[in-house]
């Protein structure tokens, strides 16, 4: 009989083969976000994958059109050449099949990166990614974990219509056992993806087609962005704007506009949803007393509901005003340009929400 005395307290769980986390440093000690090594979001992702594949032979990439076609969105451009067809693998249009297959491969000891051309196509793979990957460690009593990264485009904004515009974070983040990252810029995209590949748990990594071409400085030096630490993109004392992924950009725009009117917003980019750095949110709310959560998914039981609930649970007494959320419109994603832009949580709607809060 095992006693609680025999509890494992080592950080290295035996169920996932060899692994160790990179050495994370404080935000202030990380390489600078400013500089002139300007690359695209997609290139940042590519660098992250390539560097980790060079480091660890167990890492491979599979997905539709990732190899010969160089990626439907050119994220994996050139990787077939460098790593060969045994590690950069074109799959048939069988999301359930290749996601499930990679769960098996991860259990066997590999470190798969599974690209969904779009997270919208992951619904056909919902069972393996939700019912198997995040539960394997628990179900097997700690015998096998599932070190795997699922990644791809998430969210609307390209007039792709209602079946191709999913924000899966609102659905999938409900499930314990998975981690979820949603980078809003190239620097974080690279640093978070490298961390995701090193992490021994299943990571859902949500990119955005609308941001793949975004450019920013990404340092030469190797760096890892830790999970669970929000970034304060802008300081302010009037209201806390909480967001993640693409809408962070809209929040920054809105904050800029509002500053012109004397309203200083503090903008927090959560970077990961699970873990969710609620401590930083509360810290900010203690200062501002007000919070607006901007979330590009549908409102009902989504991430914004969760953030607001956690704010109430941990910082109710600091609130001077009811928490407010700004979401995608609560309708299937429309195709027509005008409808789609009204559908998204745009700058205008954020500004209005902030004004309501501070007014």
């Amino acid at each position: 009989m095992m006693s609680t005395l025999e509890m494992i307290d080592q950080q290295v769980h035996p169920a996932v083969g060899e692994w160790e986390l990179p050495a994370f440093v404080e935000e202030s000690a990380m390489p600078s976000r400013e500089g002139d090594r300007v690359i695209q979001y997609r290139e940042a992702l590519r660098e992250a994958m390539s560097e980790e594949m060079r480091r660890d032979q167990r890492v491979f990439l599979i997905g539709e059109e990732v190899a010969q076609y160089n990626g439907a969105y050119k994220v994996s451009q050139g990787m077939l050449e460098e790593f060969g067809e045994k590690r950069i693998i074109d799959s048939p249009i069988s999301e359930s099949g290749f996601a499930g297959m990679c769960i098996g491969a991860a259990m066997y000891g590999l470190r798969p990166i599974v690209e969904f051309m779009s997270w919208s196509f992951s619904l056909v793979a919902a069972d393996p990614i939700l019912n198997n990957a995040p539960k394997m460690l628990y179900m097997s009593g700690g015998q096998w974990g599932c070190p795997i990264v699922f990644r791809g485009n998430d969210g609307a904004g390209g007039q792709l219509g209602s079946t191709h515009s999913w924000c899966v974070e609102a659905l999938f983040a409900n499930v314990p056992g998975l981690k979820m990252a949603i980078p809003s810029n190239p620097y974080d995209a690279k640093g978070l993806l490298k961390t995701a590949i090193r992490d021994p748990d299943p990571v859902f990594f949500l990119e955005s087609e609308r941001m793949l071409g975004d450019k920013a400085h990404v340092p030469e030096e190797e760096y890892y962005v830790p999970f669970g630490r929000a970034r304060v993109c802008r300081e302010g004392d009037a209201v806390t704007l909480v967001s993640f992924g693409r809408p962070v950009q809209f929040c920054m725009e809105a904050a800029g506009q509002l500053a012109g009117e004397g309203i200083e917003c503090e903008v927090l980019d959560m970077r990961t949803i699970r873990p969710l750095d609620i401590d930083s949110v509360i810290e900010s709310v203690r200062k501002t007393g007000r919070v607006v959560v901007v979330d590009q998914s549908w409102p009902f039981a989504g991430i914004s509901s969760e953030v607001i609930t956690q704010v109430c649970e941990r910082g109710f007494d600091w609130l001077d005003h009811q928490p407010v959320r700004v979401n995608a419109a609560d309708v299937p994603t429309p195709y027509a340009k005008e409808l789609e832009s009204a559908y998204l949580p745009n700058t205008e709607r954020i500004v209005a929400a902030v004004k309501k809060t501070v007014g």
């Binding site: 539709e64 059109e65 010969q68 076609y69 439907a72 074109d90 799959s91 048939p92 249009i93 069988s94 359930s96 099949g97 919208s120 196509f121 619904l123 056909v124 390209g158 007039q159 792709l160 219509g161 209602s162 079946t163 191709h164 409102p299 009902f300 979401n327 419109a329 609560d330 309708v331 299937p332 429309p334 195709y335 027509a336 340009k337 005008e338 409808l339 009204a342 559908y343």
Partner: protein
């Protein structure tokens, strides 16, 4: 376009040689219209008048025209996202089709669907679906519904459903589940694989086992199958028509490996490095439209060169008008359409944000 109506009289008549000239000339007219329409679609897309994904049908025209020619107007049809040809050949006006892609309220889905979602209730076209393979169980359901209607409810008649899919969709589990159910329940759905040899940049034999014997996939479910050349609309019809008639009569499923080819990239943003220009040119030499035109003009002799030119001119004209119509149409308003058509029975408190409403009437209704 009234291809469906035209062939109705010939039901059971047999091969294309026995069809009236009107019918086979109608097929050419449909093909010409689709081609001209798609050329315009491409330039409108390049001008950013059309957004999102846009999948061009050029090269595959005979596939849809020849198969539609063999069924009734009220046989249900469902397809994937490469659906402009299906919409036009089913009888959707080019105006409405183009307006949809322009995101206008006069479009078939009031601009809410886009290129991948052509729905046409009066013409029994149940969409345009974007998720690869998703339409295949739906197709079984449409056929199930039709069968249930006459068998259980004692009204209606024996129908078949044509369910189109790309060769890439062969690898989605949904199709296999649907084929097994169609086999077990004897559902009159006909799966038509528009086998253009590629799914995006993946040549069929790189993604699909038994690529040269796709009929094995049907045999695994005891489903009768045909492998049909899709470059000659007449021979396509000749082979497909009797197949349909038997399946309709006996109310059971079918499967067709319909060999075809797309000339354009997968979607408008495809650099097409996975195939050579020569390969494309090779297929263009046996172009289905040219072939049928040549057949009508030189072999069957029922169409003059002038009449053909006139036909082309007409199509160009129609399509130009369609663009003008789309351009001149209003966009759906946020107030009227964003929160409409979400529920047929909108109720209070369905959303934390606001109440849903009914929108404007669909232009096709």
């Amino acid at each position: 376009m009234t291809a469906m109506v035209k062939t109705r009289g010939g039901a059971g008549a047999g091969l294309s040689a026995g069809l009236s000239d009107d019918v086979v000339i109608g097929w050419l007219r449909d093909m010409v219209l689709i081609r001209e329409f798609e050329l315009r679609t491409m330039s409108a897309y390049q001008q950013a008048k059309i957004g999102g994904f846009c999948h061009i049908y050029i090269g595959q025209e005979a596939a849809v025209v020849g198969t539609f020619g063999a069924v009734e107007h009220d046989d249900p049809v469902v397809t994937a996202y490469r659906d402009h040809g299906h919409a036009l050949a089913r009888g959707m006006s080019p105006d409405v089709c183009m307006a949809e892609m322009f995101g206008k309220i006069t479009g078939c889905a009031k601009g809410k669907g886009g290129s991948m979602h052509m729905f046409d209730r009066p013409n029994w076209l149940f969409g345009g679906h974007g998720i690869v393979g998703a339409q295949t169980p739906m197709g079984a359901g449409l056929a199930f519904g039709a069968r249930y209607e006459w068998e259980v409810m004692g009204r209606g008649k024996k129908k078949v459903c044509l369910c189109y899919l790309g060769d890439g969709a062969l690898n989605q589990g949904a199709l296999h589940e649907a084929m097994n159910m169609a086999g077990i329940l004897s559902i009159p759905v006909i799966y038509i694989v528009e086998n253009n040899g590629y799914s995006m940049g993946t040549a069929i034999d790189r993604g699909t086992t038994m690529a040269d014997k796709l009929w094995k996939k049907a045999e695994a479910y005891g489903i009768e199958h045909r492998t049909i050349d899709g470059f000659d609309v007449c021979s396509l019809y000749d082979e497909f028509r009797p197949f349909v008639d038997v399946l309709r009569d006996e109310q059971r499923p079918g499967f067709v490996d319909l060999k075809t080819y797309r000339y354009q990239g997968h979607s408008m943003s495809d650099p097409q490095k996975y195939r050579t220009k020569e390969e494309v040119a090779g297929h263009q030499e046996k172009d289905c439209l040219d072939r049928h035109a040549h057949h009508l003009m030189s072999e069957r002799g029922c169409l003059s060169e002038d009449a053909f030119k006139e036909m082309q001119k007409d199509a160009k004209e129609q399509v130009k008008e369609a663009v003008a119509f789309a351009e001149g149409s209003a966009a759906p308003t946020v107030e009227g359409e964003l929160y409409s058509d979400v529920y047929a029975n909108p109720q209070k408190n369905l959303s934390p944000v606001r109440d849903y409403a009914h929108g404007t009437k669909n232009p096709l209704q």
